[in-house]
Structure formats: C-alpha cells, structure tokens
Symmetry: C2
Subunit: 333 residues, 2 copies
DNA sequence: ATTTGTTTGGCAACCGCTTGCCAAAAGTTG
DNA sequence: CAACTTTTGGCAAGCGGTTGCCAAACAAAT
C-alpha cells in the first residue's frame, strides 16, 4: 500500500542545491537571512523534492509544537459544534493544528486526557471544563490556558457578554405582558449559569417583574423535562432556561402535559443550537456567538504565546442577542 | 503565568537513578529488557521527577507519531458527531491522539489541510471526503488511509450494511399500504447514496411497489425543502430521503404547504441525527451506527499500521436498522 | 589603500529519545 | 573449573531540524 520512499529532508535539499543544511533551514524559515538567489535555489530544490518539514524534528529544538488542544465536555453536545469550528478555522488559518479532546463530563477523564496531550501542545483551550479552579491554575502553570465561558483568577479567558441578549429577552417578555418569570437553571457551579441568572434577575426586577430560580438541573433534555413540574408549580407565564437543550425538553414535556407553548407558557432558551428551530413551535432563544468565541479563544491563546509578561489576557467579548421565533407570545390574561 | 522548570528528561532520571539514559529508555518502554529491580528504581525516579515522555523526541527516531487524523466535510454537520466521538474514544483508549480536520466541503481545502497535517500523523481516516478516487489512492500511497462510507480500489474502508435498515423501512411502508415511493437522493457522486438507492429500488420492486428517484439535491435542509415540489409532482404517498437533514427540510416544507405528515405523506430519513426527534411529528429514520463506525475506522487503521502486507482491510460492517417514530402512517386511501 | 561594517553561508552542538552493538556479569553445563 | 550462553546495562550514532558563533566575501567609509 505504502511506498517506502522516505520523505525528503533538508539534507537532501542541501545536497541538491549544493549548500549547507543550515542554509536550507534558514532559507526556508528565516526569509531575508540569506541571499535571495541562494534562497530561490533552495526553494526550487525543495519544491523539486516535494519537501515537507518534519514537525517533530522542528518541535524538538524549538519546543514549539504548533498544536493546540481544545477540551470539551461532550463532543456530541451541539453547543460545541460552532465553538469547535471557530477554533479549528482560526487555528488552521495560522498553520496551527487543533486537537479536540473530550472529557466525557468527567474531571478524571479530563485530567488524564490533558496529562496525555499536554506534552504535545503549545497551549490549551478549556471549552467546558470539569476541573476546579485550583486544577485550572495548576494547568495554567504548565502551559498557557484559555478558558471559555468561565473565569479563574490569573487565567486568560474569553466570555460572551450576556447583557444585551438578556436585556432584550426580558424586555421582549415584558412587552408581551408577562409579569412572572422563572429561570430554569443549569449546573450551580457554572460561571455562566450564575452570570445569566444575575443578569436575568436584575433586568426582571428593573422592569417590575418577579422571577424565580428553579435550580439544580442537568443541562440536558432530561433536565428541562424534569423541571417542568416545578415550573408549573411556580405559576409563571414565561420561562428562560439555562440552555436550548433544557428549553426543548421543557417544551416537549409541556406540550405532552397539555400546556400549550406559547399560548399558555412562553419559553426562551440559550445558545441557538442546531435543531432548536426543528421544534414545534420553533424555539425563541438567546444566541451565543460561539463560532466567534472559538476563534477568539484561539487568538487569545496565540497572543499569550508571544506575550512577554504572564498577565492573563481577555479576549474581546462577543455579544449575545435575542432570536425571536415561535415559542413566545402574549401572556395569558 | 508559566513556571520555567523544564520538563524532566530521561537524563534527569538517569542521573537520579544512577544509570545510563539508554537504560531508562529501555526500562520505560521495553519491560523485561532490563533487570526488574533496576527497572523499579528507574520507574521510581521517573515518578519522583514527574516524568512525561516527550512525544516529539520519541517520534523523531521511531517515525511513529501516535496521532491519527480524521477528516470530515463539515464539523457542524450533526451526522459526524457520533463518528467523531467513536473515533476519539477508540483512539484515546489506545493512547492515540485524534486530530480532527474540516474540509469545509471543498476538495482544495481538504488537500491543503491534509498536506499540512500529513507529516504529523500515522494515518488518516477520511470521514467524508471530497477527494476523487485518484487523489485518495495517491494519499494512501503516503500514509495508511481508511475510508468511511466509501469504497476505492486498494484502499481500506469501513462501510455500514444498509441492507437490513432499508429492508425494514420498505417493509414497514408496504405494511402501511404504500404503493408508490420516492427517494430524495443526495449527492450523485456519493457511494453511499448509490448504495442506498439501489437497495431501496431492489426492495421496493420485490414488494411490488413503484419507486422514483428525485435526484441531484444538496444533502441539507434546503435540499430537502427544494425537493418538495418534485415529491408532490411524483404523486407518491411515502418518501425516503438520503439523510435526516433533507427529511426535516422536506417535512417542514410539506407542513408549510398544508400537506400533513404523516397523514398525507410518510417520510423516512437516514442517520438518526441529533434533533431528528425534535420535529413535529418526530422523524422516523434509518439509524446508522456511526459511533461504532468511527471506532471501527480507528481500529482498522491501527491494524493496518502493523500489517505486513499492503492489502487493504475492511472493518467489520455495522448494521443499520429502522427507527419508527411519528413521520410514517397508513397510506391515504 | 586601509579600516570598519555588513552580508552570507558553513560548522557543530543540541533538542530528547531509541536502538544496534558490545562487553561485563551472571548463570549453565559437562 | 573451563567453556559457553544468557542477562544486563553502557556507548554512541542517529532521527531532522535550529541556531549561536565564526570566518570569508563584499561593501562602504576614511
């Protein structure tokens, strides 16, 4: 299957071009360092031999792997697709390779995987980490880390600005005449869950609405489904959920229970995941610019590679916005 | 941010354990090659120094990178999630790192990406490739390749057996009294599209039904939507689509046009993608064991690494099956 | 023409690990 | 106990690049 012609090395080029290997190296990596005509000669020889630099040989002396790791809790969670894509695009654009690792929602798996991968990457993006603050700080000690949707002291991060999306959403519900809201929360330990809840509360109160937190739910379809009873009990006319998955679970459970959406209950999710418009009615949701965030995370990491100091960096924050589809309507009189 | 204590090397261990570096190397990589007590001493020292082998240094002399690439056309296409996960799991289980690359549906991007990544991987899995047969063969010349859902002469592959799922589906429709079917096809060049169409045709004819191919559609929501008019024109009561995305697009367009699903039109998709149960009605679909296929692809690749000859290998074929949800019903009288 | 400065390209060490080869040590055998 | 085999661990040469240092070649300045 395979031919055994070993890949060309700079020595082959050197021989062909009649120069020293070091000259080849310089010609190819340090434009301007050597004479233009020599460089041309080298490049010509390289092309002729179909030369491709051996990344491992290069990584050894330099210590630069040109690879970054992106850790997510669950690859099959649609929230991450765009994050992954944004990161992948941004990385490959500058010649970096992205390796995606999955923690399977387990901090043990995450640690083990990181352990395994760490020596072969220049830095790590923690998309959704199960690690605690101390573990993250420790990791950041070894290789640069960029956190997504979370903040830890001394660690770089990129987080979205939930303010505009939430303000729009609450305003939207207020305009529709809703007075009593509920927030179906996600993981209590989640930074972004807290951020969303605080903003929601602030905005609701400002507009004279009541808001109840329905807490400790899995951020899944099941979690949304499981929260339905408590949503009913809360006697609210509109609910915002921690994410779309929960919103969809809730929506389906409500429909199954004979509660009409949006006539009896308005629902707004978070993230605008794939499939959130497949539902009946299609879900209104607060959109997160995940692809941009992914790209931003990569850029932030790249910057930290060249940074002189060790100051944590913060990516420019992308902004959320409300996407109105069919799951919100006037409050029942 | 970073501490500058360089990672421990086998030389550090050697010094600490009072042996030669080569002994350390052997102790750690060739159990049994050296004395058990010496090995224990070395391991102890390694642990003490928190040693972690430098994969680049290792890859240089051995040429083994312990990394494999998985190429998909579009990371955000939900069809691939499970494929990716299956591959990732299988790879990390045996200490391999998986790098995921996206061709963005472009053979140019695909070639360029492959070009960039090839030197740093041991082999490649082509999940959904835009490359033509010749390009694939050429690639296979350089590094072992495993194709998913496609066959090219002389190249290893793993493809699902569509037979049972399709037989079930056609039988199911026949049992419901349908006499006239349509297949909303995907990309004409797709191996799996052809396979599905042929099987569908064979089964339909065997059960005395007519079947029409509605061809040249994008395998997307839009493609499904765009095929609706032709489905109507075909005057069929049931349709099978190339994939779920198209089925969902078709379903929504049908509903929008006042054609009730499943009362007026039964629809069966392919793949059981994420969100295919979000629709109203939830989509009946022929499920592909994508996660298994992903794992199988990795295993096949690993086998080919150690194979003596250059014979292409074929992963054990996983089997499809029909998943009946709500989008199929009795044919209209 | 001499001094000084700048290009340019070669030399060789090094990055961390693997491995063929060899010799000392230990174990077997008759 | 000599002769032979096996075990064990050291030596050193790579793997394919990068890069500090140096000297030759050339250019500019006095």
């Amino acid at each position: 299957m395979r031919v055994n012609e070993k890949a060309a090395t700079i020595y082959d080029i050197a021989k062909l071009a009649g120069v020293n290997p070091s000259t080849v190296s310089r010609a190819l990596t340090t434009p301007g360092r050597i004479n233009a005509t020599t460089e041309a000669k080298v490049r010509e020889a390289a092309k002729q031999l179909n030369y491709r630099v051996n990344p491992f040989a290069r990584a050894l002396p330099t210590g630069k792997t040109k690879t970054i790791a992106l850790m997510v809790a669950d690859i099959t969670n649609p929230v991450f697709f765009k994050l992954v894509r944004g990161a992948e695009l941004a990385a490959s654009e500058v010649g970096y390779t992205l390796v995606i690792a999955e923690s399977q929602e387990s901090s043990l798996v995450e640690s083990a995987t990181l352990e395994r991968i760490l020596p072969s990457v220049d830095g790590v993006i923690l998309g959704t980490t199960r690690l605690n603050d101390d573990e993250i700080s420790a990791l950041n000690q070894q290789k640069p880390v960029v956190l997504v949707n979370r903040k830890v002291d001394g660690v770089s991060d990129v987080v979205p600005d939930n303010t505009p999306g939430i303000a729009e959403a609450v305003k939207h519900l207020a305009d529709l005449g809703h007075k009593h809201l509920a927030f179906v929360a996600g993981p209590a330990a989640s930074w972004i869950n807290t951020d969303r809840w605080n903003l929601l509360m602030k905005n609701a109160v400002e507009l004279g609405m009541t808001i109840a937190e329905i807490s400790s739910n899995e951020p899944t379809l099941e979690g949304g489904k499981g929260a339905f009873e408590r949503v009913r009990a809360a006697g609210v006319t509109a609910v915002v959920t921690y994410n779309d998955l929960m919103a969809i679970g809730l929506l389906r459970e409500a429909t199954a229970a004979g509660v009409r959406v949006p006539e009896d209950l308005s629902i707004i999710g978070f993230d605008n995941i794939f499939g959130s418009d497949f539902t009946n009615p299609p879900l209104s949701t607060i959109e997160m610019p995940l692809q941009k965030i992914g790209a931003e995370a990569v850029e932030t990491l790249l910057k930290s590679f060249v940074a002189e100091d060790d100051e944590p960096m913060h990516g420019t924050t992308e902004v959320t916005s409300l996407l109105v589809r069919g799951s919100t309507a006037k409050a029942k009189a």
